[in-house]
């Protein structure tokens, strides 16, 4: 899960020219200030792309979830801590829910499967939209005009 999430950010950081960092150091800025104010804004869209890719991978994964959670249709919390109990207990993800409720799975309730698939679709669309918004905010930096060679 980590490589596809981290890779776009890493590539973005490598694409920032050395002299831009040096310019920041040359103004008497510390490493932390340089990272926060110069490097991170430069890779904003890359990081958001990576995050969306990572979340997309998780939302779309079926096999790993079945192995890890057992993937039963019943949601059974374990432990007393609210919130964490759900995470520790059994359950399923949307994708395994779709699978289990489809005629091929144990539930055989296609209408539930379609409903879950629709929710999954909405989540993916929302994620893409979110990335777009973050990237647009990044465009106030004018970075994309530089990438186009303008």
């Amino acid at each position: 899960m980590c490589p596809p999430t981290a890779e776009p950010g890493r590539e973005g950081l490598q694409s920032v020219p050395v002299h831009v960092r040096e310019a920041s150091y040359g103004l008497g800025k510390t490493k932390i200030a340089t990272i926060r104010r110069v490097l991170l804004p430069s890779v904003r869209s890359n990081v958001s792309t990576g995050a969306a890719l990572g979340m997309g991978r998780i939302a779309g994964d079926t096999a790993i979830v079945i192995v890890l959670l057992g993937a039963t249709l019943t949601l059974e919390p374990e432990g007393e801590v609210p919130g964490a109990d759900v995470l520790r207990g059994t359950g399923s993800t949307l994708t395994s829910y779709v699978y289990n409720n489809s005629p091929a799975g144990e539930g055989n309730a296609p209408q539930k499967a379609y409903a879950a698939a629709f929710v999954l679709l909405l989540i993916v669309v929302a994620l893409n939209f979110l990335v777009d918004v973050i990237a647009k905010r990044g465009s106030r930096t004018g970075l994309e005009s530089q990438r186009l060679g303008a």
Partner: protein, 313 residues
Amino acid sequence: MDNTLDIEADAGRQKPADGPASPPPVRRILLDQPPTVAAPAGAGPAAPGMSGAAARHAAAEPGPERMVLDALSVFYSDKAAVKEVSLVIRQGEVLALIGPSGCGKTTLLRALNRLTELTSTARREGTIQLDGHDVDELEVTTLRRRVSMVFQQPNPFPMSIFDNVAYALREQATKRPGRKEVAPHVEDALQRAGLWDEVKDDLDRPALRLSGGQQQRLCIARAIATRPEVLLMDEPCSALDPKSTRIIEELILELRTDLAIVIVTHNLQQAYRVGDNVAFMYLGDLVEYGPADQVFSAPRAQRTKDYVGGAFG
């Protein structure tokens, strides 16, 4: 090839002013000869018969000493890039560093505000003093605010024009000064960099949308915003068109009244136009240092003569 050093100009070389076009003189670069090092010159009277720049150079009064370099050497691994250079940088003067590529000009410049320390293999010997204090004793962030730098490539940060200048001004304090507090300083820096009139209406525009020349002036504004004592410029015009170059050169001449400027350039005409003093470096050695007119019209070292011969010969 016989490895003899020196850029050897043809002896009977003449400038074909308007006569028939003769082939350009053959110049060979010869290796393996030790460079001839001339003693640093005092500020002598400018050579007569020069106009324009010469008059300007002659009129410049030597200002107070800002930086004093004493036997400064910089090594990359074990290779010496700068060898025992001693120089004085005065307020109110432009010191132009000239020389062929790879002869240590940029390294010398970067050593002045300790940017060489970012290179892990670099090692420095000798002392650099800023206003009488060893730069090693100053905090590096303080030093770099007092000795700031403009790079070869225009490199504004990915933020608005205002923020680019404000970024330099804001210290890493727990309470960052607000926009109202820094605005007058930002305006002042942009004014001095000659960019205010062009950008005053949209200071919130991304800096990367400016043209190359404007970006470079923004970088100068950013560098002078903290009111440094010394401004280092590493070939600031090499990525710019002639018009932007002229604007920046004029800017350099205006700025030099309140600060010391060290400029590295490959362009000899530019060194002559903007430089009050010129230092010629060759393979890490400071070969010749003196007023621009003297270095260009009456160089003492043979090596300098050969190098600058290409500029006005």
